[in-house]
Symmetry: C2
Subunit: 316 residues, 2 copies
């Protein structure tokens, strides 16, 4: 098994290191914080030299604003290693890799798991169990990097959702970044009601604002990096909220808004509770990546690898 070298050991990177260790992988990494752990190398250069020597899979796990600097170090110390990342947007990372390491064999990754606590101590070997983990599956994604990223995601307990860089960024704008913006709007508007309003806040307000416990810098790094797709999602939300406002002010009430919201949430429940049909995709087939993208579009995922075959699950 190929070792894994994780650059950045916050909540996500730290959890990757711990989960890979749990799976029996040789795993090491580096972080700016003082972490006393035998798997943590003293410097970026030391970690990357060890990665180059052992032909490790390198995982970029720093916030987006630091990606460029880290890639410069990778280019210097370990330019030939396979490369993936766990950053929450994919297009800016792909662009940075193309700029700094044009010959890199890179497949983007994004595990869809988190919690409001951050840092190495909050990291957990079970954070990704049963979670979705996107591996970008574009026309030009190198197969060896793709396979290494998929193997890591599966080893960490996740299911792999294959999709393109662009479709990933559009999807997460809707289901990950927009929730943070709406939570911010809700928290501000609620707090403007003063102590009385906050003293009455119950489950709906607590749940709707929970992600605002996250450190603002982390939310900003995530959202600011996905500006184009996020603008589309915010515009759709503004349109829907404006329509609700108009209906409430006129005689219509909120029926259309609430019913559409109920149906949307029900679609999530239906997808989660769906029976899944298992089928194989032969990775040596020239159209394998196209089949994998179709799988992702349909809400399916890769369950496991058997040699050169991806065992897939598609909601019925």
């Amino acid at each position: 098994m190929r070792p894994v070298c994780v650059l950045g050991l916050g909540l996500i990177g730290g959890s990757v290191l711990k989960a890979a260790t749990r799976a029996g992988w040789e795993a090491f990494g580096v972080t700016l914080e003082p972490v006393a752990d035998s798997r943590v190398e003293p410097t970026m250069a030391a970690a990357l030299s060890r990665a180059a020597e052992t032909d490790a899979l390198i995982v970029l796990a720093v916030p987006l604003p630091s990606i460029d600097d880290v890639l410069r170090e990778v280019a210097q110390h370990a330019p030939d290693c396979l490369l993936t990342d766990v950053v929450s947007v994919k297009q800016p990372v792909a662009e940075a890799v193309a700029r700094r390491l044009p010959k890199a064999r890179y497949a983007g990754g994004h595990p869809m798991a988190g919690k409001s606590a951050s840092g190495w101590d909050a990291a957990s070997e079970s954070l990704f169990d049963e979670a979705a983990w996107v591996v970008t599956t574009d026309e030009d994604t190198p197969h060896d990097a793709w396979r290494a990223a998929v193997d890591l995601a599966l080893a960490c307990g996740a299911r792999v959702v294959p999709t393109t860089t662009g479709e990933h960024d559009a999807a997460v704008a809707r289901i990950s970044h927009l929730p943070h913006i709406l939570a911010a709007v809700l928290a501000s508007t609620g707090a403007d009601g003063g102590s009385l309003a906050l003293s009455l806040a119950a489950g709906s307000f607590r749940d709707g604002t929970r992600v605002m416990c996250t450190r603002p810098e982390l939310v900003l790094a995530m959202c600011d990096g996905n500006r184009g797709p996020l603008l589309e999602a915010v515009d759709e939300a503004l349109g829907r909220l404006g329509a609700a406002r108009g209906a409430l002010a006129s005689t219509g009430g909120l029926a259309a808004t609430v019913r559409a919201g109920h149906d949307g949430r029900q679609a999530l429940e239906d997808l989660r509770n769906a029976e899944h049909e298992e089928f194989p995709i032969d990775l040596t087939d020239p159209e394998a990546f196209e089949s994998l993208r179709d799988l992702g579009t349909a809400g399916g995922h890769v369950l496991r690898m058997e040699g050169d075959t991806a065992i897939c699950a598609l909601p019925a």
Copy 2:
């Protein structure tokens, strides 16, 4: 101890009945659903006749659209009983009471607890433990009705937040109704991303849309009844979301939005974790209600009653 008669035994009314029973109160009620329980009277008339005979406190626990019909029955069978309610808006209930039972001794109530499941089977004797329970404390609220509503709330395990009808409705628009509308907008916008987006949905989307599991009729009954205050809250949210949109589209990014949201959520945590100072309010004091309203405005609550004294807790 005065018995309690609960009209409507869904999640909230059923939980009031069960919690009052737990506290040793004689409690009975009526519901349209077929519930086999010795505390459930066969008809509204039977329940209200028993209430009149035992001088029970009557609790209106039906959805707002049914309040008028139920009040007509109360006027016919038990016009002299003390009256409270557990409906989520207070002004429309107060108006209906004034219209149907102009001589009623009524104090409005609103326990700030819930869950997405509904109905008698979901009702729980512990639903209100540690929850806030508003009892309206207006200039003209009759003291005997106020005291009966407070005693019930405390018996059900809640802490009592005294405030006016108008301030209650403005506060819940922000921290209870707006969260439902934003959850609806988020669920719809997320589901518009198709199966791929939903398959990637993790905690932020699940938490932000959880209340959309609630039956749409219940959400609508709650929000439509609070149109004026809710319009103000929605307009503020629209303004904030529009400002976020503008900042994202220009160079500013989302820093102001996210930091304000973080601060708002932090204010909630601070209030919850605050040390509280205990002090008494003498209910025979002519300015007692004014002091109680100040307590509510400051985020405080009534912990318990000792004779004619309300033992209060104020965040330091």
